[in-house]
């Protein structure tokens, strides 16, 4: 019987689960809002070993919810400070922290497979997708979570058993046609994107061509205008060279708020059906600027007048230019000139973007926006609060108990069956597969108890909505693939060895297939230029992966992902080989793109879209419907059955027998 520290956890969890959790090794990706809460919960429910990866540093705006951090920690590594703060509260827990990008190659499949569970506590789509992929490859359960304002969600992902993160399509960030932004804005957001992704970047950053918010696709209609816009950008770049000079602000202002506008205005066709823009005049505004309140930029909820915007524009431009000059002076005399990037929490950059956006809005007769609003729109700010993080992280841990039980069931049954089979050792090798099938079934059965949970902040009947986990989408490009690891002697193995020996001979591929790396196409029947190149020459190093896409007309198989493990193999050995022969199922025939077309809310932290109210997600059940369910419950048996286990697990299993609406 546990005493002292562990008393409460051991009582509630039951001693077997509690003991297993103490031996568990878990990975937490992200030490932000959910991460801080999660770490506290993991430490205080008795998890034995926790690894934390986060590249971020602490910012003042984190402190309203990320309670492991204090003012004195600002600019320090989140992962390292989190480890230090949480470690104090339970000296018996082993915590490892990495101030690093989770996409770093050192966090490879082998590294991921060391963990019992991975928790995603991330704020962006890209990293989420990456961890999802790695967990699928390493066959490690992943608990994915996200929050937006009062909304939050938790999803358990297990390769082959449940949907993965990419089984349902996620919305990509919005982009705007370049001509709308540069020539014909009609909404405040167009002017904000212009200020942030064009003006700011051309003056202080690299180039607008890299801005994801701008869609540069050309067609016959816009070709000429895009050409004009290129010339305009070139001219602005030349002005950039006079940064630091007395006339620099006027040069920039006249260029973008006068000359470019006059050029646009002269294109009469464009304004036949639109309101033509009106240029602004530097000298006129300069005359009035002394009347502007000194603290105008602090009034971030107000709509500024044209002169107020002008004053903020001049000042932020001057501050930013000074910073550039300082950096230049301090930098080594290299060729690359310094750049600034827009950061919503960097006041100078925000002031500049807010004022420039509003000046442009005035020119085009569009409503202005307050600095507060512009910050949100330009910075893709997701509201975040302590309460939502607390709930979401707790639910992650609750789901992790169910995953741990599945792991336990598998291990226990495996050990038991192995014991039995070694007693009658004669046909041991035949049993191996049977044991795996049986333990896998035990695992599946337990993991199906895990749930997908959404917070329902405004629900009148509940505060959480719970759904059973859906099976993988058979058409998912990420999880419905076969995976395997290949050992490669990169200096000897050629692409031809892969194509002819490994794929055709060993795995039985026909003529029609292609080999792709993350960089693009390596081989297909029309592209054979790379066949004689070695893996080293192709840049396919340790931990890179390649995807084989089967294009056979008949009996095409799902995509095969091969992970490369680089090894020096003796010259007598094959330069490339499989570690295990993968099973590659056939592609499903014209399966639907989505398994269920419901309107479940998808809360995507890091994106502003897709957020819906938990109460409106169609899960509301009327009393009558619930009554009908009761009928069913009664028919299936009413008694809370005793099970053979005296652990807490019983309640879970027994209730699943009595109340079966969870899985509808």
């Amino acid at each position: 019987m546990a005493t002292g520290r562990d008393k409460h956890a051991s009582r509630s969890l039951g001693s077997t689960l509690h003991a297993r959790i103490k031996r568990a090794r878990v990975l937490m990706v992200g030490a932000g809002g959910i991460g801080c809460e999660l770490l506290k919960n993991l430490v205080l429910t008795g998890f034995g070993e926790i690894h934390i990866v986060d590249l971020d540093t602490i910012d003042l705006s984190n402190l309203n919810r990320q309670f492991l951090f204090r003012k004195e920690h600002i600019k320090k590594s989140k992962a390292l400070v989190a480890k230090e703060s949480a470690g104090k509260f339970n000296p018996n827990v082993k915590i490892e922290a990495y101030h690093d990008n989770i996409k770093d190659p050192s966090f490879n499949v082998a590294w991921f497979s060391k963990f019992d569970i991975v928790f995603n506590a991330l704020d962006n789509l890209e990293a989420r997708r990456h961890v999802n992929k790695m967990c699928l490859a390493a066959d490690v359960p992943l608990i994915e979570s996200g929050t937006t304002g009062f909304n939050g969600q938790v999803q358990v992902i297990q390769k082959g058993k449940t949907q993965c993160y990419d089984c349902t399509p996620k919305d990509a960030p919005k982009s705007f046609p370049v001509c709308t932004i540069r020539s014909t804005p009609s909404q405040p957001i167009h002017c904000i994107v212009w200020a942030k992704s064009y003006l700011f970047t051309e003056i202080f950053g690299t180039s607008e061509d890299d801005a994801p918010e701008l869609d540069h696709s050309e067609d016959s209609e816009n070709r000429k205008e895009i050409e004009n816009l290129r010339n305009e950008s070139q001219a602005l770049k030349r002005i950039r060279e006079s940064m630091g000079s007395e006339e620099f602000p006027k040069l920039v202002f006249d260029k973008v708020f006068k000359e470019d506008i006059e050029r646009l205005r002269s294109m009469e066709d464009m304004w036949r059906t639109r309101k033509a823009p009106n240029a602004l005049h530097y000298e006129d505004l300069l005359k009035e600027v002394t009347g502007v309140e000194k603290n105008i930029a602090q009034k971030d909820q107000a709509a500024w007048t044209v002169t107020e915007n002008f004053a903020v524009f001049l000042h932020s431009l001057r501050r930013l230019s000074n910073r550039m000059e300082e950096t230049k002076a301090n930098a080594d005399t290299g060729n690359s000139s310094p750049i600034l990037t827009f950061d919503k929490d960097d006041v100078d950059t925000l002031d500049f973007v807010a004022a420039s956006a509003n000046l442009r809005s005035i020119i085009f007769g569009i409503e202005g926006r307050s600095k507060f609003d512009i910050k949100q729109m330009a910075g893709n700010i997701i509201p975040a609060i302590a309460t939502t993080n607390a709930m979401t992280a707790s639910i992650c841990v609750l789901q992790s108990f169910k995953v741990m039980r599945a792991v336990m069931a598998k291990d226990e049954l495996g050990a038991k069956l192995k014991d039995e089979s070694s007693e009658k050792s004669s046909k041991a090798e035949v049993k191996e597969e049977q044991i795996e099938a049986k333990t896998d079934e035990a695992f599946s059965q337990k993991i199906s108890k895990a749930k997908m949970v959404f917070l329902a902040p405004n629900g009148t009947e509940r505060r959480l909505t719970t759904e059973g986990l859906s099976p993988p989408n058979p058409c998912c490009p990420v999880c419905s693939v076969a995976q395997s690891t290949i050992v490669v002697d990169a200096n000897r193995a050629t692409l031809n060895d892969l194509v002819e020996d490994l794929l055709r001979l060993q795995l039985g591929y026909g003529e029609e297939f292609s080999v792709n790396s993350e960089a693009g196409l390596l081989y297909d029947p029309e592209e054979d230029a790379n066949l004689n190149k070695t893996f080293a020459e192709l840049g396919l190093n340790n931990d890179a992966s390649i995807t084989i896409i089967d294009d056979a007309d008949e009996g095409a198989r799902v995509n095969l992902v091969l992970h490369i493990s680089e090894q020096h193999l003796g010259t007598e050995a094959k330069p490339i080989d499989l570690t295990q022969k993968p099973e590659i199922p056939l592609k499903p025939k014209a399966a639907p793109t989505e398994t269920n077309g419901d309107s479940r809310p998808i809360v995507t932290n890091g994106l502003t879209n897709g957020v819906t109210n938990g109460a409106t997600n169609g899960l509301k059940r009327t009393a009558k419907e619930a009554g009908l369910k009761d009928e069913l419950v009664r028919k299936r048996g009413k008694v809370v059955a005793e099970s053979d286990d005296d652990d807490f697990v019983i309640v879970d299993d027994a209730n699943d027998g009595v109340i079966c609406i969870d899985d509808d």
Binding site: K7, L13, L63, R318, E367, I381, M391, A623, D630
Partner: protein, 565 residues
């Protein structure tokens, strides 16, 4: 350049720190939070209370006070994040207060380690606090005293249980708790008044659709969909005795009419603005009738009679009620959704809605000023509050707060007005009422059992290993008695077989609560603390709709349920 103003300052550090939450409840919500003083009466393992406070200290609640007479023991360290090895044997109130204060230097923290009985006996002990949170166990007499204070001083009172995998909280709000800023979901807030247009809106539509048939392709593809729908409504009315589409069938027929008017000889084979019009038909062509909740507010006694001490909410509600009586609609909120249109046309349309909204506001404001004078109102109502009310008029909400059940140490509990609905919900698997009953039984046991040597300290069931079996028996029989009396009080007939299932569930839950021995599981306490603090924020900011009035959580099935007790 010389005569420019000096370099401007950025937002204050405080604004930056709270940036992410200001986007939810705004500056007014933040001020309300900063003016609050939250009292936590903590007992038991004390985790859920502190987790709740943590989530209120972080966003900047002005003041908190922890009353807790417990001393820190070894078990506390295992579940309580706010205690460390060095605090063993010290006052839990003091150490948790200090560690909480570290989370946010803007917040003032206080503690009281005097036993709750003697402390509460002092007159005015509760006077400083704007909101009270109590965690179980607490003696029924003390809880009754707190409830009486909540009633008399109109101070919101929260009561929380967190035991093992289960938790519960109930909220006792003032009898009238109105909310103007309910933050309705954006899909429900568009109110275009297409079925009750005013002359300026009709004139706009007429202007934009003039010569529709012979319009140039580019012009036709840029008519704002609002104008398209208004135009075809006039067409429809001519063919239908002046009636607008009445029902679903009419609306789909009307939708087909608009669809048929789309030009298909365009490069895209259609028109975006007409597509918008078609997809807006079903949701926009509803009579702008206020919901029954809103109409009930107009009829409630506080709204009908305005006195000199009437809170602003009722004065404004009365004024809007007058507006509704006169016109049959609420004031126009004034917002226009994005749509395919030329910017000049769109801005013009925005102005049509905005000027109407301003006109309606002016009329309501005039009534408010009249009421102020007439009733000799003690407070002056600000125009911006009237404006916010007009914008949200269709979504205002009134919660009728009331006391929750307190199990008496002696005698039986009366379930009162909600007995019937509770009894009915017993058999809804999603309602989780059995968990509530099990917690009431847990309270009854605690109220009637004391630790041997210290007669004053109450004993939680299962707290000593030796008594687990006998305690299980006791709590189960209390719980079954409670459910019997609920069903009896509600005079509710329940299918015998079904009732057996309910009783078996309640017995199982009682067993689980006893098995936890009054102990808390950290993540359940953290989750419950998250839920409670979220409701506290709603109540303090008077934004969003709080739980009315009880919420239970089942950590085994990851389910929660809200119902009235």
């Amino acid at each position: 350049m010389a005569d420019l103003p000096p370099p401007v300052q950025g937002p204050t550090a405080k604004e930056k720190k709270y940036d992410r939450q200001l986007r939810l409840w705004g500056a007014t919500g933040q001020i309300a939070l900063e003016n609050s003083h939250i009292l936590l009466i903590n007992s038991g393992p004390g985790v859920v209370g502190l987790e709740t406070l943590k989530n209120l200290v972080l966003p900047g609640a002005g003041n908190f006070t922890i009353q807790d007479s417990a001393l820190v023991d070894e078990a506390d360290l295992g579940v309580n994040f706010f205690l460390e090895e060095e605090h063993l044997g010290g006052f839990r109130a003091e150490h948790t207060c200090n560690l909480l204060k570290e989370l946010n230097p803007d917040v003032q923290g206080h503690f009281i380690s005097e036993p709750v009985e003697s402390w509460l006996a002092q007159p005015d002990a509760l006077e400083p606090y704007t909101l009270i949170i109590v965690t179980a166990p607490i003696r029924p007499g003390l809880l009754t005293k707190l409830a009486a204070h909540a009633d008399q001083a109109l101070v919101p009172l929260f009561y929380i249980h967190s035991v093992g995998f289960y938790s519960h909280f109930s909220i006792h709000l003032p009898p009238a708790f109105p909310i103007v800023d309910t933050h309705p979901s954006p899909e429900t807030t568009t109110d275009l008044r297409l079925l009750k247009p005013w002359p300026e809106l009709l004139a706009y539509a007429e202007e934009k659709t003039e010569g529709l048939e012979s319009m140039a392709a580019d012009d036709h593809g840029h008519i704002p969909y609002v104008a398209i729908l208004l135009h075809y409504l006039e067409v429809w009315k001519k063919d239908n005795n002046g009636q607008v589409p009445q029902n679903y069938k009419d609306k789909t027929a009307f939708r087909d009419l608009v669809k048929a008017a789309t030009r298909t000889d365009t490069p895209e084979g259609g028109e975006e603005n007409f597509e918008e019009a078609v997809s807006a038909v079903l949701k926009s062509l509803n009579p702008p009738e206020p919901s029954s909740t809103v109409k009930e507010i107009f009829k409630s006694p506080e709204c009908v009679i305005i006195r000199e001490n009437s809170p602003p909410f009722w004065v404004i509600a009365h004024a809007i009620g007058l507006f509704y009586t006169k016109y049959g609609v609420l004031p126009v909120p004034g917002a226009v959704p994005d749509m395919k249109a030329r910017s000049a046309d769109y801005i013009q349309l925005q102005n049509v809605y905005k000027s109407k909204a301003r006109k309606d506001l002016a009329e309501v404001l005039e009534s408010v000023r009249f009421l102020e004078r007439n009733a000799n109102l003690s407070t002056h109502i600000e125009e911006k509050d009237v404006e916010a009310f007009c914008k949200n008029a269709a979504h205002i909400k009134l919660v009728r707060g009331r006391p929750f059940h307190i199990v008496p140490a002696e005698g039986d509990l009366k379930f009162g007005t909600n007995a019937k609905s509770l009894a009915q919900k017993l058999t809804f698997p999603d309602a989780l009422v059995p968990i509530y009953i099990a917690f009431l039984a847990w309270d009854k046991y605690t109220a009637t059992h004391t630790l041997d040597d210290l007669a004053r300290a109450s004993k939680t069931p299962g707290s000593s290993d030796a008594d687990v079996d006998s305690d299980t028996g006791k709590v189960t029989s209390i719980a079954l008695k409670l459910v019997d009396s609920l069903v009896k009080e509600a005079s509710y007939t329940i299918d015998e077989e079904e009732y057996d299932t309910v009783r078996a569930q309640i017995a199982e839950l009682a067993r689980e609560l006893v098995r936890a021995g009054g102990g808390e599981l950290h993540n359940i306490a953290a989750l419950t603390g998250g839920m409670v603090s979220q409701e506290v924020i709603k109540v303090i900011t008077e934004q969003y709709v709080p739980v009315d009035n009880t919420c239970v959580f089942d950590g085994v099935r990851s389910k929660s349920s809200v119902f009235k007790v």
